[in-house]
């Protein structure tokens, strides 16, 4: 096989990394509605919460499926080590997403069975969020591999560390959900969402803080990256903390859109910090992006299609959010 003129691996890494953060930010706030769902003071609030994400949640989840298929095509090793290693976790994730997806569809059409769909939505969302957080933790921990195969046990991914990252993401999504709700609601519902932000922000900071301190002990590679001399990556946690302060401040001033934007910032800087810690390892501790990449011609073949479709999906996504902009009312639509 001839040497490719141009290595697409890093373009693909960029696409997948972009897909992941798009997914985390967008599905994050609607999973957050599910996490907070049963804590809402009234059924009226729940109607608003669900209506605020109903038009967009499905589009948000398409990024997950695209990411899964894209990984198989561009970085098959990630796909074929993560999925066996996270076997049980993947099941919980999918089961959670299915139950909450079905709840979205049927709750609007249900009357007497509404409470069933409420619980289905809440539990499904929480389980799916926790599983995603545990995946992040498992990635930090690394995988036991031999000759490009996962050779660890069924529950290696479930450790105190990954439980903490799981809880961290649940808290993080709840914060995204609460700040989203501030933006999309009024009156009592909004007041409730405002009250949620500070305790959630505090939990996020505490959990993220513990994870950040713990990570270098879990993975010496991370320790070396952060603690060998001064590196510019220290800017990332500083910017993250600045975002946290920004959220705090915006809530005090009763801003409506800023808390959500600032929370997205907190997520983005945390995410970049994570990438910076692990780069270029995608299957730690053994395999890098280049090891995990598929053949050049396969990367090229799919890239041609994606270059055509991704802009359309982005335009469509933007258009959907534009159509559904503004405050949500409980009685709109769905009856």
């Amino acid at each position: 096989m001839s040497e490719p003129i141009f290595d697409l691996t890093y373009i693909w890494a960029g696409i997948i990394a972009f897909g992941v953060i798009m997914y985390v930010l967008m599905d994050g706030f609607d999973l957050g509605q599910g996490i907070l769902f049963m804590f809402a003071p009234s059924e009226h609030d729940r109607d608003i919460m669900m209506n605020s994400v109903a038009p967009v949640w499905d589009g948000n989840e398409t990024w997950l499926v695209l990411g899964g298929a894209g990984l198989l095509a561009a970085f098959p090793l990630v796909y074929t080590i993560f999925l066996p290693a996270l076997y049980i976790g993947v099941f919980l994730l999918l089961a959670g997403l299915i139950f909450r997806g079905v709840a979205f569809e049927f709750r609007f059409k249900a009357h007497t069975s509404k409470y069933l769909w409420n619980w289905s939505f809440a539990i499904g969302s929480t389980v799916a969020s926790f599983a995603q957080g545990a995946v992040v933790g498992a990635y930090i921990q690394g995988f036991e591999t031999e000759n490009m195969r996962y050779v660890g046990g069924a529950l290696d991914w479930l450790t105190p560390f990954t439980v903490l990252t799981g809880l961290g993401l649940v808290a993080g999504y709840a914060l995204l959900g609460a700040t989203w709700l501030i933006m999309k609601s009024e009156g009592e519902t909004q007041a409730w969402a405002y009250r949620l932000v500070k305790p959630l922000l505090a939990s996020v900071l505490i959990i993220f803080g513990i994870i950040s301190v713990w990570t270098p002990f879990v993975d010496p590679f991370v320790a070396e990256r952060w603690f060998t001399g001064f590196t510019p990556i220290w800017l990332l946690p500083i910017l993250g903390l600045a975002c946290a302060y920004w959220i705090f401040n915006a809530v005090n001033k009763k801003r409506e859109g800023t808390p959500f934007v600032a929370t997205m910032g907190l997520f983005i800087f945390t995410y970049l910090g994570l990438l910076a810690s692990k780069w270029p390892y995608v299957v730690p501790p053994s395999y890098t992006l280049a090891d995990a990449a598929s053949a050049h011609e396969s990367q090229l073949f799919l890239l041609l299609g994606l270059l055509f479709v991704i802009p359309i999906v982005l335009v469509y996504t933007a258009w959907t959010y534009w159509v559904f902009r503004g405050k949500v009312k409980a009685d709109q639509g769905y009856h």
Partner: protein
């Protein structure tokens, strides 16, 4: 008891894919039917077609939604349960499966919303165009999936280096030796599924005497379609069988229940194949007919299962009986379609209660035929995942234990049971709602642009 992760993974895959397949096979056919209806609406400007289109679009929405939900699991199973296979084939299957996902998104992003929610808001021509694009999109999706499956049956266009497949010719890999046969067979199966469901539901409305003029027209159209498509499917199925004989003779041997390679092989109508003794019990057959069908020569030679050692043989009883169930359903469909032609005079079909009841029951027949057909082709290629090159045992995830596989098998079963019960229950409510209630609703701007939201019926 020792739990076998390989067997459990196969059962899980069979369960998930069977459960999933019944939705797309229906939506593909139905999408084309909806496009035809909206085409008629556009051409004639007759509101009755709008009404019929709106009704079937609601049904489409619910089934499409269930298909999407059940399909998510599929895209992860390749990694969770078949990681060795995925690693080896990712260079080909990765892009192909991704293109399927991308097509589906593109379709959903661009046209599904217009089809489901655009009625009355966009010109009829645009609405028709959206319906047409959705139906084309469903075919493109199935194109990719069937290409992937066919490649596993008749691999081509690839080279193997260090255990990893590399694509040397995308055209040869995508349009591999069995692709067009499988695609044509499956496309027709989708049309037949859509056709028999529409016929069955129309028949039910006629029995109920609801909106009879409209449903009579729908039934009449559908019966004409079935009259041509059912024999055509038998013909295409035969070609597909000949293609299989060429590339996978052992599968055909199992379909025929033919253990020994022989000339002038009989067509078995009944037999109880016995894998252990490598023979059949209670054979009833028509002499030489199998040879004639497969080689067009009464004394043609038909390969036997025993050409392969027992460890490389598929499970003959499953293949043998699945094949018979599929063929029986196919012939039954031809019969029902032809009877419809004889009942044309004075529109007897719409007043003949037994015929309408038969059509109602026949709603199930295409689903049974499709599942049986997939069992033939998938079980029939065992023990190979990639025919002749990689076995199930080589492809399964090495770290997978029996306990893990059993856990998720039961788990998916429970999840799907809940989803299916809710979906099927809701679908019957939508159908009971009928065409009368599909006049336009004026809520909408803020409703979610989601498939199921297009349905109006209440859940409870």
């Amino acid at each position: 008891m020792e739990l076998d992760p390989l067997l459990l993974s196969r059962i899980q895959f069979a369960f998930v894919v069977s459960f999933h397949a019944i939705f797309p096979v229906f939506t593909i056919g139905l999408a084309s039917y909806i496009a035809v209806i909206y085409g008629l609406a556009f051409k004639t400007n007759d509101p009755k077609w709008e009404r019929l289109g709106a009704f079937w679009t609601q049904v489409f929405a619910v089934v499409f939604g269930m298909g999407v939900v059940s399909g998510i699991v599929m895209s992860f199973q390749f990694g969770t349960n078949w990681s060795n296979f995925s690693l080896a084939t990712a260079n080909f299957l990765g892009p192909v499966l991704s293109y399927e996902v991308v097509t589906a998104f593109f379709l959903e992003a661009a046209f599904l919303g217009v089809l489901l929610f655009g009625r009355g808001k966009v010109p009829n021509g645009v609405h028709f165009f959206a319906a047409l694009m959705v139906s084309i999109g469903t075919f493109i999706s199935s194109f990719w999936i069937l290409s992937a499956n066919s490649w596993m049956q008749t691999p081509g266009g690839v080279e193997v280096h260090d255990g990893i497949y590399h694509v040397v010719s995308w055209a040869d890999a995508i349009f591999n030796d069995s692709f067009w046969y499988r695609f044509a067979h499956m496309a027709l199966a989708s049309f037949l599924t859509g056709g028999f469901v529409v016929a069955g539901v129309s028949a039910w409305f006629l029995i109920q005497k609801r909106d009879t003029e409209l449903h009579r027209k729908a039934l009449s159209m559908t019966l004409w379609l079935l009259l041509f498509l059912t024999p055509l499917q038998v013909f295409i199925g035969d070609l597909h069988g000949l293609n299989t004989l060429k590339h996978q003779p052992t599968k055909v041997a199992a379909m025929e229940g033919n253990w020994e390679t022989q000339k002038g092989a009989p067509l078995l109508l009944f037999a109880i194949p016995d894998q252990e003794q490598q023979m059949n019990h209670f054979e009833v057959g028509i002499p030489k007919l199998a040879s004639y069908i497969l080689t067009h020569d009464w004394d043609g030679e038909i390969p036997g299962v025993k050409e392969k050692p027992p460890e490389l043989q598929p499970n003959v009883p499953i293949v043998f009986w699945s094949f018979r169930i599929m063929v029986a359903m196919g012939l039954l469909m031809v019969l029902v379609a032809v009877i419809g032609l004889f009942l044309r005079r004075k529109r007897a079909y719409m007043n003949s209660r037994w015929y309408l009841q038969t059509l109602r029951l026949m709603t199930l027949s295409p689903f049974i035929a499709v599942l049986a057909g997939w069992f033939v082709t998938e079980v029939g290629r065992a023990p190979y995942l990639i025919y002749g090159e990689m076995t199930h045992a080589e492809g399964v995830t090495p770290s997978l234990t029996g306990g893990m596989a059993l856990f998720t098998l039961i788990g998916y079963f429970l999840v799907y049971a809940c989803v299916f019960a809710a979906g099927a229950y809701y679908l019957t409510r939508v159908i009971r709602g009928g065409t009368e209630g599909t006049e336009q609703h004026e809520d909408d701007k803020h409703r979610p642009k989601r498939p199921l939201s297009a349905a109006e019926a209440s859940f409870d």
